[in-house]
Symmetry: C2
């Protein structure tokens, strides 16, 4: 039997340098844990635009459809700010999400003990925080038609369409309930059902799916209140399920609560493939950070934890995922820090590669 | 000449009890500062539904169009949760905003010195915080057509439409720049121009309006990053301008940062009327808080500060507004607290009316 396959798309900015460290970790699993992967690498985002004039080449898209998992670094940068909407780096990422039909975006917001002081929130509000946000990723206002800028009378009008079918809501909700069953059995669904009909349908369908999970406690919250409650008392949540746009904002808000943005991974999962594995893409929550790109300052941990999520969700290697997560906790507890994790006390931060060294040593 | 007129709509939940205290303050201005108002009172939200079967009677709507300012308490409550969308309490509020064409919703997020400890954020992150969020209030996904729940094949689909014309964006942006000129001359505009065409148009029009205000430093931020930056370092902002839906979420997020939700007012302003005053409605940011309604526990300060905003923006009485704001700061500095402002040390909270007494005494 051939090895499971991974397509690596380092992308732009700090993407390539953090991905270099992840490749070392992948190699380690092959050499030491008898877990070899067939790894290939390709371009996405601005890097793909520079090479091909599009942010994702059709051949790359085809490869992504065939592999067992895609690992993506980050896309975008000021260099591409003036490009036409249709070829912006982000379109490469959105095309992957849409064509692979990755409907469930899992964004854990965890506060690492060693880093609780980094949060702008009080320590007791965030210490031990462990939320899972499930964001619907293939529909809503991100993809709804009609969309565009149109002439209307003597002025222009910008239009986007929020659209959710019952089945789109249902499959995202089901992912959230399944996760809750393996966690603390609480799901909070967020929308604006007081203002938007799409939110009314969302609430109705989530409620219906919830009937299949009688052990899970389901609550509903308007998204504006959700943002407030995340800031006020985030530990009240276990799993949050919400749509594409609310999920974009609320998951970033939740990520920032932890103070550990350079630490947070994500998984985007679709339907099972013929081999039983879900279509899947893994990527850090942080962006391409063009201001520090190429300087060896970036924190590779979020991208490594994304690979840990791949081990868990794509390759059914929960123990091996935990091994990597544990190694990372150990080096943090020992005081290893990249620049983004340095406190006001100062000290010498580790470079991206030195952090890689430390984690490999801990493994 | 007749007195300026105010229509009071106490609404639901704690609305009536906080409004009682505001009426005492209004009366004080008439008696002591020679600033008499013609005050009338009417129903909105669930209270209007109970009386008339609609959340806003046409007669009330007509009155709102005629007065110099509307003062609203809060709408909604669990009693009305199962009502049809079209007659929910919120529809009364949305109808007022839409028909009065109140396009600029001003939401200050201020951290009161005496209350900085209440924030879930670290004191140095929020102490002295003073942001003004300008939220577009009459368009976007709140009002765009088509909207509804439709049959499509053998399932239903929920649809809402995000729609912004150039002139809608322009007038909201202009309000933001005008405010910035009287503040710290910084405007940050938030949208998702990387994903939504309506965001592209938003960014373009705001940039164009900015050319009329060369002294104001304009920046743009994606709304997800905006949520992060609000949590990470809110003091970087002066004026934020954003659309109806992003504004709903981001302003609640910003409000919660201050830890003083029971303290925050808002103003919703439209075009100038024949007498030169803008169409205007003022309301606290907090909701109807059904859990404590009718118990004399509610904090009347947000509603009083909303009246202070009315003095400033509708009646050109900036000094009198400052007098009321100062009185409120004084009673807080003296330790007056309603239940929502009590720390873990305990003590006896003031009732709603006792807080009113204290503020009147300070005036
Ligand atoms: C880069 C951008 C298109 C993307 C999004 O809006 O979904 C990002 O913010 C994210 O959350 O992954
Ligand atoms: C009550 C509701 C309709 C309203 C809104 O969504 O605008 C509220 O959340 C607000 O921010 O004033």
């Amino acid at each position: 039997m051939s090895n499971p396959s991974i397509l690596i798309l380092p992308g732009d900015g700090i993407g390539p340098e953090v991905m270099d460290q992840v490749v070392r970790v992948i190699d380690w699993y092959g050499a030491k844990r008898d877990l070899a992967f067939d790894v290939s690498t390709d371009l996405v985002g601005g890097a793909a635009y520079d090479a091909h004039g599009v942010p994702l080449h059709d051949d790359t898209m085809a490869k992504a459809q065939e592999v067992d998992a895609v690992l993506l670094g980050a896309v975008g940068g000021p260099k591409y700010d003036d490009l036409d909407f249709s070829v912006k780096p982000e379109r490469g990422l959105l095309r992957l999400r849409k064509e692979m039909d990755l409907f469930a975006n899992l964004r854990p917001a965890q506060c690492f003990d060693a880093l609780a002081d980094f949060s702008s929130l009080k320590k007791d509000v965030v210490a031990g925080l462990d939320i899972m946000i499930v964001r619907e990723l293939t529909s809503g206002v991100y993809f709804g038609e009609p969309r565009g800028i149109f002439e209307e009378g003597n002025e222009r009008v910008g239009i986007n369409t929020q659209r959710y079918t019952e089945s789109e809501i249902e499959r995202a909700a089901r992912s959230a309930f399944e996760l809750a069953m393996r966690r603390n059995k609480k799901v909070c669904s967020m929308e604006k059902a007081n203002v938007m009909e799409s939110g009314i349908l969302w609430r109705e369908v989530v409620t219906k799916v919830g009937e299949d999970y009688p052990e899970v406690e389901l609550s509903h919250m308007y998204a504006d209140n959700g943002a407030m409650q995340l800031v006020r008392a985030p530990k009240q949540f276990d799993v949050i399920v919400t749509d594409n746009l609310f999920g974009d904002i609320l998951s970033d808000c939740a990520a920032m609560l932890t103070g550990s943005l350079g630490m947070l991974p994500s998984a985007s999962l679709g339907a099972p493939m013929a081999n039983g594995r879900p279509k899947a893409m893994y990527e850090p929550v942080h962006g391409s950070a063009p201001d520090i790109a190429g300087q060896g300052k970036a924190n590779p941990i979020a991208c490594m934890l994304s690979f840990a999520m791949a081990l868990r969700y794509s390759f059914d290697q929960g123990d091996e995922a935990a091994r990597l997560e544990q190694a990372i906790e150990t080096v943090l507890a020992d005081g290893a820090r990249t620049g983004d994790l340095m406190g006001p006390e100062g000290g010498t931060p580790l470079s991206t590669a030195e952090m890689g060294d430390a984690i490999l040593a801990a493994l």
